[in-house]
């Protein structure tokens, strides 16, 4: 069990990592900028490159950080809620619902805000359907929630496949990018950052209760945890965070499943440290992955979801093998 001091130290280090990843994202690109220029642009000085930093790279980097943090936190919460290490933010069908919404918007010829609002509505619809169908109480609720979510996700997957089959040739590229996760179309990172903050503030006060919930619901009740209310809170918060992340950047895979595990392997499973550490680690990972995605074979931009998996898989396997 980490002491409070060690927890703060770990979080301070991860904060440094987050700042460093954002600095790299702002400096690196088709036009490489020295950090001095980046700092000057951030502090409001007029430089030749301030538009690149402030209008192009900063919104994208912040959106990447927010989405990475949202997905990692939502994944960590889902793993506790379902008491299942294989759970991720998408396991309950939220990204599937968002995907159906977003692809419908693209088929209808909508762009930007239209796609975002359709995908958010799709995510909310999936969330309400799963929650409505899985409602009940008792020890089977977890299994039933998981099964309902998996089945709804499978249904959404079939609809998505159908839409891809029927879509006109010129729209398929955009659809595939959306499905793999893509930060290039983000206009404004502020909603995602705000929701991330709300999610952290909603989850952290219950972190010790979540430790008990992860060990078993009945024992948690016996130790004084109001389990049914806590489960609802966790479900709603994790689902909304996932919906916002997916709406912002498409269904970026892997971050939500693997970042909580990476953090757990490194520092243990105390949610008081795991939840904030996952936010910082997930945010940094996605910022770095996106920076690579837009530079590695420039001027072609790769979908960031591919990069998160390509970075995450070897790191994860290394940590797993080390134990």
């Amino acid at each position: 069990m980490p002491s409070r001091r060690r927890a703060l130290l770990v979080l301070a280090l991860l904060t440094l990592l987050s700042v460093a990843s954002l600095a790299v994202a702002l400096a690196v690109g088709s036009i490489a900028l020295p950090l001095r220029d980046v700092l000057a642009a951030l502090t409001g000085a007029t430089t030749p490159s301030d538009a690149i930093v402030l209008d192009l790279r900063l919104p994208r980097a912040l959106a990447g950080f927010a989405c990475g943090g949202l997905l990692a936190l939502a994944g960590a919460l889902m793993q506790v809620l379902l008491r299942n290490p294989l759970a991720d933010p998408y396991v309950l069908g939220i990204s599937g619902g968002a995907g159906v919404g977003a692809l419908s918007a693209m088929l209808l010829g909508l762009a930007g805000f239209g796609i975002a609002s359709f995908s958010f509505m799709g995510a909310l619809a999936a969330m309400l359907i799963v929650f409505g169908l899985a409602r009940g109480d008792g020890s089977w609720t977890q299994t039933r929630l998981l099964l309902t979510g998996v089945v709804v996700a499978a249904g959404c997957g079939a609809v998505i496949a159908l839409m891809l089959t029927l879509a006109p040739e010129q729209k398929i590229h955009g659809m595939l990018f959306w499905l793999m996760g893509d930060l290039s179309l983000v206009a404004d990172p502020k909603p995602a950052l705000a929701v991330l903050l709300v999610g952290i503030l909603a989850a952290l006060p219950f972190a010790r209760e979540l430790n008990l919930l992860a060990r078993g619901a009945e024992q948690a009740v016996a130790l004084g945890v109001a389990v049914s209310g806590l489960r609802r809170l966790v479900y709603v918060v994790a689902s909304l965070m996932t919906a916002v992340a997916v709406t912002t950047a498409g269904s970026i895979g892997f971050v939500g499943l693997v970042v909580p595990h990476l953090v757990r392997l490194a520092i243990g499973n105390d949610q008081r440290l795991l939840l904030p550490a996952s936010v910082l680690a997930g945010g940094s990972l996605l910022v770095l992955a996106d920076t690579l995605a837009r530079t590695i074979v420039a001027p072609i931009q790769l979908p960031v979801g591919v990069l998160t998996a390509l970075i995450g898989v070897p790191v994860f396997l290394y940590l797993l093998g080390r134990k």
Binding site: S3, N211, E218, V221, A222
Partner: protein, 249 residues
């Protein structure tokens, strides 16, 4: 400490007991006996306030569980369930410290005093030195003792234990029952446990509840109730009394 009046307990369509009356005073030790599926765990969970009774009243220190609230109830009574599945890794010390949860404020972390209490609980279950072990590397009996240690760390006044002796070897079965009896005598805690051995119930408990599985029950002093005829009917298997022991035929 715990008083039940006209308590009726059921699960689904199955009636576990009707009109059960119980009085547990400080120092009492009650065993719940019955066949598999008779509803022993259901009754225990009801007495722990984890599920609602169909009818009747249940008072812990003069108040219902609802009046106490979850947190206050958790400071007064502890419950040991049968489930030992832990999907995530954890050290033994972390597992035992979960018992301190009801004594900590929302933003407090476990103090060195809490850690000390957890270490004492581990030592009491002869697990001293195992603090840093990963629980998934423990044997079934060791995990059972870790769970009991967590209950000791919770330091309740009323202990409700569902098959506390499951997976324990003979040595630790007796050690655990001796420890609980000692606490009942010395500290005045009350103990309710689901047991499968009527001899241990007779030796370590002063009260018993027998559940026959068809909503009939018998409750009262262990020495008066436990005899070969009643136990033979309870288990559906003939038992003979040899000196002070019940032996299956």
């Amino acid at each position: 400490m715990l008083a039940a009046r006209n308590l009726s307990v059921g699960i689904g369509l199955h009636k576990v007991c009707r009109d059960l009356d119980l009085d547990l005073r400080p120092g009492s030790r009650l065993a719940i006996l019955g066949r598999n599926g008779a509803g022993k765990s259901t009754l225990l969970a009801t007495l722990a306030g984890l599920r609602a009774a169909d009818a009747g009243t249940l008072l812990l220190d003069g108040k219902t569980y609802t009046e106490h609230g979850l947190r206050e109830a958790a400071r007064r009574r502890g419950w040991l369930g049968q489930d030992r599945s832990d999907p995530f890794a954890s050290t033994v010390l972390e597992a035992v410290l979960t018992g301190r949860h009801p004594h900590l404020d929302r933003w407090s972390w476990e103090s060195s005093a809490d850690t000390q209490i957890a270490r004492h609980a581990l030592a009491a279950m002869s697990l001293a030195g195992m603090e840093a072990r990963e629980i998934h590397t423990l044997s079934g009996g060791e995990r059972q003792r870790v769970a009991i240690a967590a209950l000791l760390a919770q330091a309740p006044r009323l202990y409700l234990l569902d098959e506390p002796l499951a997976h324990l070897d003979l040595n630790h079965q007796i050690a655990t029952l001796e420890l609980l009896s000692r606490r009942a005598r010395a500290e005045g805690v009350a103990i309710v446990m689901v047991l499968h051995d009527p001899n241990l119930a007779l030796r370590y408990c002063d009260q018993v509840v027998l559940l026959f599985g068809d909503s009939r029950h018998i409750a009262g002093p262990a020495a008066d109730i436990l005899d070969a005829a009643t136990l033979s009917a309870l288990y559906g298997h003939p038992l003979r009394r040899v000196e002070n022991f019940f032996i299956p035929e």
